[in-house]
């Protein structure tokens, strides 16, 4: 079993590397930029997969950290003129904000629906705030926040060792896709540690974890903070292929992330990545049709999944794969027997 798992892992990495290398070769520039947006949002989905799927923390406002990451990067990059420190700030600030928010929520013993409502409210407050930042009064250094329009001209990433060389869209694709792969494996490693196992146990039964002597607030705070930092990374990548605006904090973004995770498979890491990419591609396709509202189709898909495939895509694919694998193995066994009776 362990052998087949390693085999699947190895194959997955090979396929992922092939995709990373081939996308800029095979697709037009416009499609490469779109693919980079999908990947940056997949990082956001991965952050919620970790926080909700494994930590059991239903954060309905994960886009708050995504937006903060994007804005921090844009403001700092405009002021500093390069991307080295701004990237660090853009990861640190959402992480600190998540830690502060998490402290009040977890130490206040707020759980379940209250936590969802509070995190969503925070995201919507930020949405309102950044919408109201039009005019010269709202400038941080050289960066004007721009109100509803956001910050249109965000400097792209540069080479860390040569600030004068800014990355082209194809190179930003390599960075984004490699980061997604890296963060996926970092998340897997994190979950396999003692810390990760305790986080999962808290999702399963918080009272029992406490009765065993684990201070569950600390574990939840840490995984929430890691999720915030990861959403910040997603914001940086997004700012590099679109631009930052208050819609990053909007209800529709917050709801979409939840849908990606649910459809991809709650309690898995690869499922939400798959769910986010497939649904974004579908939304983009549907957006070209005049006669159909994409939100209607997305709603219908969500209903179908909740009713018929409640565990999501990844567990379904895994089950089908396992069935096919064991079917082939049985066939191979019979064939060997037939050749060498």
């Amino acid at each position: 079993m362990r052998g087949s798992r390693a085999w699947v892992d190895g194959l997955t990495v090979l396929i992922a590397i092939a995709v990373i290398l081939l996308v800029p070769q095979l697709l037009e520039l416009y499609s490469v930029i779109n693919a980079t947006i999908y990947v940056s949002m997949a990082v956001l989905a991965l952050s919620l997969a970790l926080v909700w799927g494994f930590g059991g923390i239903l954060c309905f406002g994960q886009a708050a950290f995504f937006g903060l990451g994007g804005y921090t990067y844009a403001i700092a990059a405009i002021n500093f003129g390069d991307s080295n420190l701004p990237v660090l700030f853009a990861v640190a600030l959402p992480a600190c904000f998540a830690a502060l928010l998490g402290y009040f929520v977890f130490w206040g013993r707020l759980n379940d629906v209250y936590l969802g409502v509070i995190t969503l409210t925070v995201a919507l407050i930020l949405f309102k705030f950044f919408n109201a930042t039009a005019g010269d009064a709202y400038k941080i250094g050289k960066a004007a926040l721009g109100g509803f329009n956001g910050i249109p001209a965000t400097p792209p990433l540069n080479l860390p060792w040569d600030k004068s060389v800014q990355l082209a869209p194809e190179q930003i694709w390599y960075v984004a896709a490699t980061l997604l792969l890296l963060l996926y494996y970092v998340s897997r490693c994190l979950l396999s540690t003692h810390f990760g196992q305790v986080v999962v146990s808290i999702r399963e039964n918080e009272r029992r974890a406490e009765l065993l002597g684990y201070d569950t607030r600390r574990y939840k705070l840490l995984i929430f903070t890691v999720g915030g930092a990861m959403a910040g990374v997603s914001g940086v990548l997004f700012a590099n292929c679109v631009f930052v605006s208050p819609t990053m904090f909007s209800l529709s973004y917050n709801a979409q992330i939840i849908i990606w995770v649910m459809i991809g498979g709650l309690g898995t890491l690869s499922g939400p990545i798959l769910g986010s990419v497939l649904l974004q591609m579908l939304t983009a396709e549907l957006g070209t049709l005049q006669w159909l509202d994409p939100n209607f189709v997305l709603g219908a898909i969500l209903v179908v999944f909740v009713l018929l495939i409640p565990r999501g895509l990844q567990p379904l694919i895994a089950a089908l794969g396992e069935r096919t694998f064991s079917g082939l193995a049985a066939l191979g066994f019979r064939r060997r027997k037939w050749i060498k009776p």
Partner: protein
């Protein structure tokens, strides 16, 4: 302990010595589970004090009390249902031990309790009696000084009850244990001193033989005695 106008525990005063095995019995609603919830920090008594190893623990959070050495097997087994038996026991052991020691403890405890055959089963799919044993193994894996067992024999077969009694007697040589139980046969197998709770008060505290033949205890269980 008071819930609104209802006083669930009143004037409870008893001491459990190091490595003592104490049974607490009483009819439904006597306050036995509430007593355990107060001892583990799940409820804070409205008045009074609880000392553990000489230090007050009232008002401390559950994890803090657990870290000081109090472990509980709850009335309805409280487990990590989506995880395997091995993972459940390992999580309990790993808080105090390093990776290798936790694995060794997990393995030996599963064998000792008799759940090694179901080590890779998800605990959410186990029968009630097996779940009781998994929770017991988890509690022991955390190596507490005081073990609280709330109705450990419920849902077990006669053979399982016999093995459990043997295990509890063994454990009493290593830990202080308080057992809340209805099954008087099980009490007879393990008990030395028994405390009888009735309507939130201590009705009597004595050696097991005397408690079982006491007319007041008999009438409490048959529902005749009224305590004012």
């Amino acid at each position: 302990m008071r819930f609104g106008g209802v006083e669930v525990l009143r004037g409870i005063d008893f001491t459990v010595r190091r490595r003592e095995l104490r049974c607490v019995i009483g009819p439904n609603g006597a306050g036995k589970s509430t007593l355990f919830k107060c001892l583990t920090g799940q409820l804070t008594p409205s008045a009074g004090n609880i000392l553990f190893k000489g230090e007050p623990i009232v008002g401390l959070p559950s994890f803090d009390i657990a870290q000081r050495g109090v472990g509980i097997k709850t009335q309805v087994p409280s487990l990590f249902d989506g995880l395997t038996v091995r993972q459940n026991v390992w999580l309990a052991a790993r808080r105090l031990l390093d990776e290798a020691a936790a694995l060794a403890t997990t393995h030996s405890l599963m064998e000792r309790v008799g759940i090694d055959m179901i080590a890779e089963a998800a605990v959410g799919r186990l029968a009630h009696g097996q779940r009781q044993l998994v929770e017991l193994a988890m509690v022991v894996a955390a190596d507490p000084d005081l073990i609280l067992l709330d109705e450990p024999a419920a849902g077990m077969t006669k053979d399982e009850v016999g093995r459990l009694a043997e295990l509890v007697r063994e454990l009493s040589g290593e830990h202080s244990i308080i057992v809340v139980e209805h099954d008087m046969q099980f009490i007879g197998m393990i008990a030395t001193t028994v405390t009888v709770l009735h309507q939130g008060q201590i009705l009597m505290e004595d050696e097991v033989g005397r408690v079982m033949t006491d007319p007041r205890v008999r009438s409490v269980y048959l529902g005749k005695l009224k305590v004012g």
